[in-house]
Every structure is written in C-alpha cells, then in structure tokens.
Amino acid sequence: MTGDKTGDKTGDKPGEKSPAQPQGPARLGEAGEHPLSILLFSWMRSQLFFRGLMALLAAGGGALIAFEFILVRHSYASIDSLPGFFGVFGFVALSLAVLSGWPLGKLMRRPEDYYEKPAKRGEEAGNDR
C-alpha cells in the first residue's frame, strides 16, 4: 500500500507545504502517529509488503482456482463455467479499465479552470468549524 514502492510521484510538489517529508519508507510509529495506525497499518510500510502481498494474492488466486476445479461442479458448455474464468475476467477487466485511463485522460482531461475558476481554499462556509 505504499506509493513510494511503486514510484508514484504525484503530490510531491516542491512548493507544497509538507512539514514531515520522509526520506524513504516511514519508520514504525513516527512522531505524532495515532496508536491505532501503528497497530493496524505500520506493517504495510515494510519494503517487503508490496511484493509479499502480490505473491500472497497470486498464491491465493491459484488456490481459489484449484478449489473451484475440485469443489465446484463445472461444465465445458459455457465459458463462464470453466475453472478460473472469474479470475482471468477480473484481471483483464480491471487492467482494461485502468489502462484506458491513459488515452482517455489525454483526450478528455482539461485544466481545473476549464469551466470556471475553482473556489479558493477556505472560501467555503464551515471550514472554521
């Protein structure tokens, strides 16, 4: 769950106010961190987490296909009853949806003020509450 691992550079603008820019993976229990965050999420910052989760998902997915082959009655009459159909479909569908973001983004994304200037930060009522 760490963008640092995947090279996501968004939001790292030099001018942005960032009181605690970490140099590399954040350490367990950094200053000011909520105890619940340390308990639930800090282990996700491990270098191995991303690869470990991928491996776990691949192994789990393989096991699910094996279970499906053994436990679920299947026929070869229709494509959706083949073991592994749902896994392959899920992988392809999500990849297709995500990869479409490249050409569609280039085609359809316009500047923030394309329709009108966005509201200034703090302009909205209620921010003071």
Binding site: A20, A26, L57, D80, F91, S95, G101, E116
Partner: protein
C-alpha cells in the same frame, strides 16, 4: 395506556411527516441539545412507526383533496424496505452532522429525508410526485449551503435539471391519472406476487413522461451529470445527506411503476459500465464516489428491468445496502474534506497515520461496495448477479455487470482508500474526525458487517421475502458463489498491484474530465454565441451607423456653436446691413405675392 394510544395514532401517519416536522424544530433550534433532538428524534419516531406497520398493502390514510382521492399512507413490503433504508440514512446523517452548526443544512436535510420517506409511502400519484419534488427542492438547498460561487452555480444547474424531471413527472402523472380516471396506485395496477410493482403501462403518453422524469432522477446515461456535478460541490455533511435519497427514490419509482420493462436492462447495464472509465480518470475523490453511485444505481436499474422476484429483491437489497456503504464512503471523504478542505487525490495520501479510524471505516466501506464476501455489497449484489446469470438471453448483460464489478473494485474499493489514506505520503497530518462523525462511520461500518455476516434479518426486509429467504438458504453462501467472487476480486487486486508495480497505472493529475455536461456548460453557450453573432449583424450595422451619424452631428454642432464657431464670428456692419435688407426684401416679397 397513553403510550399505546400514541403509538396507535402514530402508526396511522406517514412516517415521513415526523421527519418533516422535525425539520421545523431544527430550523428554529439554537442550542446543541434541541438540534440533536430534531436531527435524531424525527427519524427515530419514524423508525418506531416502521417497526409497527399496520396491515401491509392497506391504505391507512385516505383523504379527498380538491376532488382527488389521495392515499397519503400506504405501507407495503416494497415501501417498508426503502423506508427502512431512508430512516437509517436520516439517523446516520443526523449523527454525522452534529458538529456543524448550520440550521439551514439541518432543516433542509430533514425535509429532504422526510419528503423522500413520505414519497415511498404515498399511495397515489399526486402526493407521490409532490413529495418527490419537495425532496428535490430541499436537496438543492444542500448544494447552495456550501456557499461558494461554483457550488451556487452547480446548485442552479442541479435545480434546472431536477425541475425538468419534476415537470415531466407532474405532467405525466396528470395525463396518466386523467386517462385512467384515478390517481390511486392500487387502482392503477394489480399485485404481482403479492406486491404492487410495475403498475404503469408504458405505452401511455403519461407513463412515458413519468419514465423520462424518473430516468433523469435516476441519472440515466446522458442525463447523469447532475449527480457528478452537484454531489462533489456539497459540504462535508451535504454529500452524506444527499447521497441516499434522490437516486434511490428513483429506483423505488422504477420498481413501483416500470418493473419488468426490458429497456431498463440495457440502460442499467450501460450505467454500470461507462462510469468505470470516468472514475479511473477523475482526481476528485468525491466525484469518483458520484460516478460510483451512477455505477451502482445501474445494477439496480438493470435488476428492475429483469423484473423477476429475485432481481427485484436484489434491486431493493442493493438500494438499502448502497445507502449504507456509499453513505459510509461519503462520510470518510467528508471527514477528509473537513480536515483538509479538499478531496483531490493529488493533494492527499498517507492520512492513515493521524486518521486511522476514518481509514478503517473507509476500508470497510470499500470492501462492502466491492462485494467482498461477508460484507454488505456481497449480500445484496449477489441476487442481481444471479438473476442476470440465470435470465434468458442475458449473458452479455451479465458480462457487463461482471466487468462493472471489477471496475467498482478499482475506483471505490481501491482508489478511494488508497489515494486518500495510503499511497504516497502527502506530509499532511490532519486531526482525526470529530467524535460524532466517527460514531456515524462506526455505526455504518457495523451495519455493513451485520448485513454481510448475518444477512438473515436483512433478507426478511425484502419485498418478496420468501424468495429472498430461499436464495439465502440455497445460493448466497454456496461454495461456487463465494469462491468465484473471491477469485474475481483477488485477481482484480492483483492486476491493480501489477500495474502499479510496472508503473502502468495512470498517475492522478489535477484537471476536469469532459463529460456530457460539456454540452450545456460550454457547447450550448458557445453555439448560442455563434448563432447569435450573424443574426445580430443588421442591428450592429444600424447601431454603428447611428453612432457615426450622432458623432458627425455633434462635430458639426461644435463647429457652428463653439466659442470659435461659425455663429460666434464677428461680421462687418455693412454685411449685417446687407443681410437685414435682404431678409426684409424677402419678407416684403412674400407678403406682396401671397
């Protein structure tokens, strides 16, 4: 017993009226306690009334107004399902809003919830349409309540589109009622499997108008942008209060009026698919949730079109479950908006460090909307998927729904929690959400888990209860269903991680994504200017000629009458005498010969 008498009296009143009455108290409330009583008390009384419904299908309250028969309160299994969802949403929204001292939003939110609730229990076309329109007006106030320029303009656009939809509904209801000589729903159509659904005949012009109006409110394709325009422009509480009602009420109306209409299958299937692509590109996470709402409503619309008891149970179950888990996701984004003033993915990330409870709630909402087994979305969407899978000639539709299921995992299951709370560290360390917000999120998350782990109580609320319980016993947690759903989700998450690892995942970028709204926000104004320019050419030429003439006259007048002008010049005495004689001669000549 006074309590019994009160209860006996209360159960004869449309529960929406209690919530609307609470709105009046909220509008006048100055202290926190009164606000809390209004925000929670009205929905709580409505909940009690729902728990003790009179005989289902009976018109409890029937009035005559201006010669029309009105059935103000007609509870049945369908209205009770939706009513239960609306009351829960009102209570959760009330708790969530307690930190914000804004009487306008409090009262508008309660009128909105109460009107929507009153509409689902209305037993005639007239009161149903009037309550639906009151709900629309109140919801527009929630957009204006952000009190920014863009929100104001978004509110006007919202109001314009909803007014067109409302007029179509009103005209359709009038035409249909006059044609059939009654406005009472029970007299317009018969029971189907014991429930009053699909009562309108779509071949009638009035029904077509109602279909168009309801379709706009359900955010059908091409008229969906009111949703993605208005919802992100609300305050942190406004989004939560708005998310459950308008579109869900439209799903209720589709069930009541048009269940089994084949066209809805394809409209619904389209609604599930195209928002996936927009949500992938979108940077504003509240807008992603709006597209996600469009996508989820598509599942329900498709199920209404399939029209079997299983499909209609699925539509109703998904409508109620969606109210809860989408409300939860809006709550988490509202908390982020309150603390940071933005919900743009490019400005967020790493917030779990200081907002872990909100992050946890978001993960539960994400798991629910992704239909992970033992979470709310699984219990509700499974019925729709099974209905599509087993329906005749619906294989392409089922494939579209399956694609949309993977898509919703991407944009609501992964993108929302990942970019807001994990992903890169934005360096921002906001305070955790206020206690009332956390409480509302906690209760919503608990409901998501309760529906997922123990769906029996939830299935008993469904309009076709026996069929729902049969599905629960035989199919919901069958080995095949659980394994196949887990397989779909596991490999979809794997695909996401593989794309991130290979740096093929499109990075979030600021900007707006063009959609159909371009037509009325840029296209139409541009077209009007382009057409108006040549049409105005003669007027512009005439104006220019007039201006030139006036300017010339002024120049000439100045030349004549200025201090050094023609008339100010000194003339010699002889010239004056000659001119005087000449004028005298002309006058004499005229008088002699006339």
């Amino acid at each position: 017993m006074t309590v019994d008498r009160l209860l006996d009296f209360a159960v004869t009143i449309n529960p929406g009226f209690f919530v609307i009455a609470a709105a009046l108290i909220a509008a006048l409330a100055k202290d926190v306690a009164t606000r809390a009583v209004a925000l929670l008390g009205g929905p709580a009384i409505a909940l009690v009334v729902l728990l003790y419904p009179p005989v289902a299908g009976m018109e409890v309250s029937r009035e005559t107004f201006l010669g029309f028969d009105l059935a103000l309160y007609r509870p049945d299994s369908l209205s009770l399902t939706f009513g239960f969802g609306f009351v829960l949403a009102a209570m959760l929204g009330g708790i969530y809003s307690l930190h914000r001292r804004d009487r306008m939003q409090d009262s508008a939110g309660l009128v909105y919830a109460g009107s929507a609730l009153a509409a689902v229990f209305a037993g005639d076309l007239i009161s149903l349409v009037l309550f639906a329109e009151l709900a629309t007006l109140a919801s527009a106030v929630l957009v204006f309540a952000r009190r920014t320029g863009p929100a104001y303009r978004a509110g006007l656009r919202y109001l314009a589109i909803q007014s067109i939809a409302g007029l179509a509904l009103l005209a359709g209801a009038a035409l249909y009622g006059i044609e059939k000589n009654t406005f009472v729903l029970a007299e317009l159509g018969g029971l189907w499997n014991g429930v009053l659904v699909g009562v309108l005949d779509l071949s009638q012009p009035g029904a077509m108008l109602i279909f168009a109006g309801v379709g706009m409110k359900a955010a059908f394709p091409l008229v969906h942008n009111w949703l993605t325009d208005a919802y992100p422009n609300t305050t942190e509480t406004g989004g939560v209060v708005m998310s459950p009602y308008t579109t869900t009420l439209a799903v209720y109306l589709l069930m009541r009026f048009f269940a089994g209409v084949d066209g809805l299958i394809w409209i619904g299937a389209a609604m599930t698919v195209y928002p996936v692509f927009f949500a992938v590109m979108e940077n504003d996470l509240k807008k992603v949730l709006s597209y996600s709402t469009n996508n989820q409503i598509g599942f329900m619309v498709c199920a209404v079109g399939i029209g079997t008891p299983l499909a209609l149970n699925g539509a109703a179950a998904h409508a109620v479950a969606h109210i809860i888990f989408k409300g939860l996701l809006f709550m988490t984004m509202g908390a982020v908006q309150l603390r940071l003033g933005t919900t743009k993915a490019t400005e967020l990330g790493g917030l779990h460090r200081t907002m872990p409870w909100t992050a946890l709630a978001c993960l539960i909402g994400a798991a629910s909307i992704s239909a992970l087994p033992f979470f709310a979305g699984y219990s509700s969407k499974a019925m729709i998927m099974t209905a599509a899978e087993t329906g005749p000639n619906l294989f392409p539709v089922w494939l579209a729904l399956l694609f949309a299921s993977a898509g919703v995992l991407e944009h609501s299951g992964i993108k929302i929690p990942f970019f807001a709370f994990f992903s890169h560290d934005s360096g921002k360390r906001p305070q955790e959400a206020p206690f009332n917000m956390l409480l509302a999120m906690g209760l919503s998350a608990a409901l998501c888990l309760a529906i997922g782990f123990s769906p029996g109580w939830f299935y008993r609320l469904m309009p076709f209860r026996d069929q729902a319980l049969e599905y629960l016993a035989l199919d919901l947690f069958s080995t095949a269903h659980v394994i196949q759903q887990l397989e779909l989700l596991a490999f979809a998450v794997l695909a996401f991680m593989a794309l991130k690892w290979a740096r093929l995942y499109p990075p979030e970028r600021p900007g707006v994504i063009l959609d159909v709204e371009w037509l009325w926000r840029k296209g139409a104004p541009g077209l009007i200017s382009a057409v108006a320019w040549p049409a105005g050419a003669p007027v512009r030429v005439l104006g220019a000629a007039t201006a030139w003439s006036i300017a010339r006259v002024l120049v000439l007048a100045r030349q004549v009458f200025a201090a050094d002008g023609l008339v100010a010049r000194k003339l010699p005495l002889s010239a004056t005498a000659v001119w005087t004689l000449a004028i005298l001669g002309i006058v004499t000549a005229i008088s002699l010969f006339s």
